[in-house]
Amino acid sequence: MIRRPSRRAYLGQWLLLLAVAAGGWIIVGNVGENLARKNLHFGFGFLEQESHFDIPFHLISWTVFNTYARALLVSLLNTVLVSVLAIVTATLLGLLVGIMRLSVNWLVRNIALAYIEFVRNTPQLVQIIFWYVGVLQALPSPRQSIALPGGILLNIRGLYIPDAVMDPDLDWLSWLALACLAATPFVWRLRIGGERIGRKALLLPVLALAFFAAGVDHLTYPELKGFNLAGGTQVPPELVALWMGISIYASAFIAEIVRGSIEAIPRGQHEAALAIGLHSWQRLGLVILPQALRIMVPQMTSQYLNIIKSSSLGAAIAYPELFAIFTGTVLNQAGKEIETISIVVAIFLTLNLLTSLTMNWYNRRVALVER
């Protein structure tokens, strides 16, 4: 019929695409029909409704009069917060344990081994609940808070840190501080007369701190008032438990990636570094790690994606993240299963695709340019 093989292949692919599209169409039609039969209607109009429930922990303001759309934003920020914290912690911890794993010291090496094997061979949810129920709930009640230096209080309800109340007339100082921080990495790379500014740019964050401090009106300290501590900022134990649970779990996998990547660097590199008289930390920091980084990055990407997805385990320990609030409370109050689930899936997909894009961009930057 069609002689040229390439044409035939084309035809096959188009037919397959058509079949997939038809399948999708049938599924969508089916869902609509089934929903209609159950007197349910598909639509995202419910996002405009007032929510009338409370979200215990929020980074931006939240009242019961806010809409479901705002609830989405509040819980999304909670998800992003714990994901970012966990990614940073897991990376640092993983790097440390991974290097420990290659230590010449028997004890250090085996502690790292035991840590990795223990952590990655127990379920993640069990670990999170262990941190929450087993560790953090053993802390004392608000009335017997542990007083830490600097007016910080620690109890079962969380870590209470003194809060800085900014002087509203001087809020330009805060903006200046933010601008200083944002400019730091760019100034770092600037060249003046062919010479990089480099470390001198670290003056900027110090300046930022000074600006920030100058804008503070007064500090509020947490103190016991009624049932709870009032004043200051509260870091809830749910956040800490989830953060620790995810970071520690991921750090074990990252440690193995770090070890594998370091071991993949040819022996000759070690010997060369040794030959030019670098001591052990210099060998690691200047020669081995920069090369191992190239091997690490693609694998780290999938660990980061796992961390973001694991944040949904917060639902088990009352951390109000996207999954708990949106597919829990909102789904039940609004009764919109398909809509809420699709929103949550779409958001996780977007978050993870963005992370992948960023990591791929970084990967291309650090990759060896082959000539």
Binding site: D54, Y132, S141, F227, N228, A316, A324, T329, G335, E337
Partner: protein
């Protein structure tokens, strides 16, 4: 040949008509229900229940399901299938319960769930009857010296997510100008643990579940249930919309359990009463007279089987809520000052 066929057809028709005439005394009732047919074909009722809460639905030491809601599942199976043990229980969290029902995974949801307007409309659920009248109650530590919910300003309360309770607390706070912080848990185990350890000042749920929660604490006497109820939580059974007859049967199983109590028929004396009954109401109930069962799409012995295998409402209440020290209150019969009533058996 053809004429022979005609004769045969005529005879058959005549016989059929005679048969119908004979039947008309015993009258047939055309009850069409896709759900009931499916259950009979399957030989098993699939009942959505709580994952585990004392009083309503819990597994005993031998792994057998017990509780008031379980008694209802068993009663429906006894009525429809003739055997109270032909039930498969699906434990559902408060989050997924309605989805599981809507998707057809279960036949009926009897899971200490509040019947509400939104659930009746937006969620496409058909309400059965209220098997437990209660309201949202609070349990707090005695040592906090709180006597009224209004005094809970600033307190943190553990709640289960995906419930009417979350909305009630927020509404109550708004109405009384106080702020009660909540901590939303998906499962009661973690919520109880958090309350026990002092992460929250108390726990809130409907009255029956709070009593159950108190019984689950390490030292129940350390906890006090505040007398004020901040909402109506009328818990009951739900089915899918679009199968009216199935919903009607579920409803009348509840009335059968109440009617038995009104008539003084218990699991222990039902056989005795059946033998000696002269009271027309009792005879009608036990299927010795009338066609109540057939009108519902089951046989006339259905109510007898319910009482025989499950017992009446009062017996089950005493069995499952007695140990929790929860007085019957609203759940007393209508003629004893309560809200529980069976519609007339006529």
């Amino acid at each position: 040949m053809r004429s022979l066929l005609k004769v045969v057809t005529c005879c058959a028709l005549a016989a059929g008509m005679l048969g119908l005439a004979g039947e008309s005394r015993a009258q047939t009732y055309d009850v069409k229900s896709a759900t009931m047919d499916a259950i009979k074909k399957r030989g098993e009722l699939i009942c959505g229940v709580d994952t585990g809460i004392p009083g309503f639905a819990f597994q005993d030491a031998s792994g057998k399901w017990q509780g008031l809601d379980i008694a209802y599942c068993r009663a429906i199976a006894a009525a429809l299938l003739g055997d109270a043990d032909k039930v498969k229980y699906i434990g559902t969290t408060s989050k997924v319960r309605f989805t599981v029902l809507q998707s057809g995974e279960i036949d009926v949801l009897i899971r200490d769930s509040t019947l509400t307007l939104t659930r009746n409309t937006e969620l496409g659920l058909a309400h059965g009857t209220v098997n437990f009248f209660t309201g949202q109650a609070f349990m707090v530590r005695k040592s906090l010296n709180v006597a009224h919910v209004k005094e809970l300003n600033g307190a943190t309360i553990c709640v289960l997510t995906g419930t009417t309770l979350e909305l009630n607390i927020a509404d109550y706070g708004r109405a009384n100008n106080i702020k009660i912080n909540t901590l939303l848990f998906e499962k009661s185990e973690e919520a109880f643990a958090a309350a026990e350890s002092g992460r929250c000042d108390g726990y809130t749920d409907d009255g029956g579940s709070v009593a159950a929660a108190r019984s689950a604490m390490k030292k129940p006497s350390d906890w006090v249930i505040l007398p004020e109820l901040i909402s109506r939580e009328f818990l009951g059974s739900m089915t899918r919309q679009g199968d009216e007859r199935w919903n009607i049967l579920v409803r009348w199983v509840h009335f059968a359990m109440l009617e038995a109590e009104v008539l003084g028929i218990t699991q222990a004396n039902v056989d005795e009463i059946k033998k000696t009954a002269t009271n027309p109401e009792v005879r009608g109930f036990l299927g010795l007279e009338e066609n109540f069962g057939k009108k519902l799409g089951v046989d006339n012995e259905w109510a007898y089987r319910i009482v025989k295998s499950v017992g009446n409402y009062g017996e089950n209440y005493a069995k499952y809520f007695g140990p929790l020290e929860l007085p019957r209150g609203w759940n007393e019969l209508y003629n004893k000052g309560g809200l529980q009533y069976p519609l007339p058996w006529r």
